[in-house]
Amino acid sequence: MELLIALAIGVLFTVGVYLVLSKSLLRILLGTTLLTHGVHLLLLTMAGLKTGAAPLLGEKAETYVDPLPQALILTSIVISFGVSAFFIVLAYRAYRSAGMDDVEGSKGERR
């Protein structure tokens, strides 16, 4: 199972990086979303998968899965949502003022 997830993480990163390297702002944002997913899965997988019940003590189970990565991921999800929401709106603003969807077209001033 972990092997499969590791491969999936690799694929998510591959597609994410490929998108981030493209010209269109939208695709760059989508790429970062994929990268975020990859990171979250990586965090979750590293503690081992399915080693017990969900970390709810009412379950009265023998073993529970590691709750700490889940707390970390939860924090990360919220933060990455905040950041990507901001960037989406920023991209939207960029569209409206620059009128284009091409990061290569909006290069910095070159001497």
């Binding site: 972990e2 990086v17 979303t33 529970y64 939860l74």
Partner: protein, 804 residues
Amino acid sequence: MLHVAVLLPFLLSVIILLIKPTKLVHPGWVVLPLPAALFVYFLTEIHTVRTEESIVSTIAWMPKLGIDITLVLDGLSLLFVLLITGMGALVVLYSIHYLDKHTEGIHQFYIYLLMFMGAMLGVVLSDNLMVLYGFWELTSISSFLLIAFWYGRERSRYGALKSMLITVFGGLAMFAGFNMLYLMTGSYSIREIIPQAGALTENSMFIPAMLLILLGAFTKSAQFPFHIWLPDAMEAPTPVSAYLHSATMVKAGLYLVARLTPVFAGQAGWFWLISATGLITLIYGSFKAIRQTDLKALLAYSTISQLGLIMSLLGLGSASAFFSGKEDAVFYAMATTAALFHLINHAVFKGSLFMVVGIIDHETGTRDLRNLGGLMTVMPVTFTIASIGAFSMAGLPPFSGFLSKEMFFTSMLNIRELDLWNSSFWLSLFPVMAWIASVFTFVYSMILVFKAFGGKLKQDKLDKAPHEAPLGLLLPPVLLISLAVVFAFFPKLVSRTLIEPAMVSIHQGMLAPGETFEVSIHFWHGWTAEIFMTLGVIAVGILLYRTYTRLRLLDREAKGTNTLNRIYDGSLQLLERGSRRLTDAYMTGSNRHYLLYIFSFFVIALLTVMVREPGISFGMKQYAPLSIYELAVVLVMLLAAFGIPFAKSRVNAILFTGCVGYMVTLLFVLFRAPDLALTQMIIETVSVILFLLCFRYLPKLKQQKEPLRFKLPNLVIAVGVGVTMTLIALAAMGSSPFEPISEFFLKESYNLAGGKNVVNVILVDFRGFDTLFEIMVLGIASLSIYALIKLKLDGDAQQTPPGK
């Protein structure tokens, strides 16, 4: 008291800054008493320095780093402080009449000059190498400010920058050398380093330290090939040229060499480097001086050449360290005496010659030899000063330059008897080179006097009607040049008071305590080789002077061919262009390129570590079993992810991304993370809505329908990152050396926090701070979004907001 002496110039410069204004009194009159008083004070210390060892005073500065402001007044420092304060007083007096108080930024001039004076006093009095370095750089900076005093001129700025670059380059090298000395000896104090000198020679850092320190000394003292800044520094006002660039600052390198002679002398490298560099500088500078048409440039090259002479004598003097027998040692140490005597003489005649040139410039409006001539009758006093100075410079009797030139020849002839390293051939070249250089020196000294003052007056080429300078301008050079005569007839005046104590500080340990050097300087040695050499110099010199115009040397220089300068300018340009080209090559301004650099570095660095590090294992003890649900979910997720780059429209790409997000949610469910699943689902939904809001309803934009253009480097890097991350994931799972701390959370969640949902307890109880600041992140994000939307920019006016 020494600290006060060093501090006073800085204090006075602050005072001048504060009391700016009054145009009634020339601020030079406020400055003048200070160097004069300091000069008198140091004169009174001569007796103490002669009889006792030295005057020391210390103020703790950074004791933990071994850096204290320790000032030591011994024979060598005394010679230099008298030079600095004495010349300083005369130059200030001269500048009062030279610079107009109404038209010039006169306050700045004196502030810079005082800064320089204080810094220079600090250089020669400091015992601590770091403090010495600090003052050393301060002289560079104040010299920079003074050269560019007329900053409106392009040449001034060029000269200032050039001198700054070269002297600071040398200064930094010297700084490194000082630190090496510290590493070897554990002390920054010169007086503590000298006793350890014998043990240092085996150290591998000894030779590098020596070379680096010499680099500092050579750049500051304008030795070949670092002399190129000095002729360009002549754009400074003439008092500055007279003070800094002939008498004081350029001698800081000589001071450093003399000061560290007890440490490094006895090294063959030290002897050869200093003597040879000095001789080359001497001969090159004197040759170039002949070819100048500008009087100040002539004096600049002459200064370079004379500094080379003194430097070579210091090198010869260091030969005394090879001998333990007192007789031999004293025999070679006479070169040092010659160096010190010429150092004083040079300050005397070069200072006055610069002032003379300043007067010519002031009274005729030009310094160009081709326009000058026949000033002898209109400016008799100036002519007298100039001829005494020039004859002294050429080494003619009965002026002090003659004495030091004789001693110079004596030392050069003596060195042939040094029978070390089988180098008698090279050593026998020394007197020949010295003689040739003296011929050139004679020629340019004659050019200086007879081209400017002899011949006919060319009134049509001059802007002003030349006339004798006012008394105020004449007084300082007259005072100076009379010293050249006084020292010639009464050399004991300087030899007993200044040179002997200075010799004691340079050649430490050669004499038993209490002994002094018996320095005797005579006019007449009898019919020796030296006198014939001098006669030869005069004969050949006159011959060369009469024919030099036919050699057409002057014209060539006027065309501005100067190889070393071209190399300097060229290398600066090369550096500038090269770095510009390099920057342009990789700073393309393209986002994609920068990301490519970052990702490639990431992949290369991590893969290299993984391949080369032996302890990384990929196997895991126990994998969770694979079920069909998970396989299906992962497959769907991967398909959706793959679909994004191939999506034909924006909406499809967004929906595919949403699909990936929901599949991740499902994985969270399968991996028993209910809180994550809840949050992920909600946030994925909101994100997709946001994406669609922003990117679907943009009416005026052309919709990008075609798929991404395929780019191979992108794909290669992307796959590289993917592979690296997979390997990292496997390696991380495979190696978990410690037990996780989650047992604690699981056990104590209910007992300590009273909650059964462990994830939530961690978020709000155990690790509540994370949550606090995550809330803050959300708050900031929402405020920024609000600001972004409400913000009205100029470009927005023509576009109506969507949906209205």
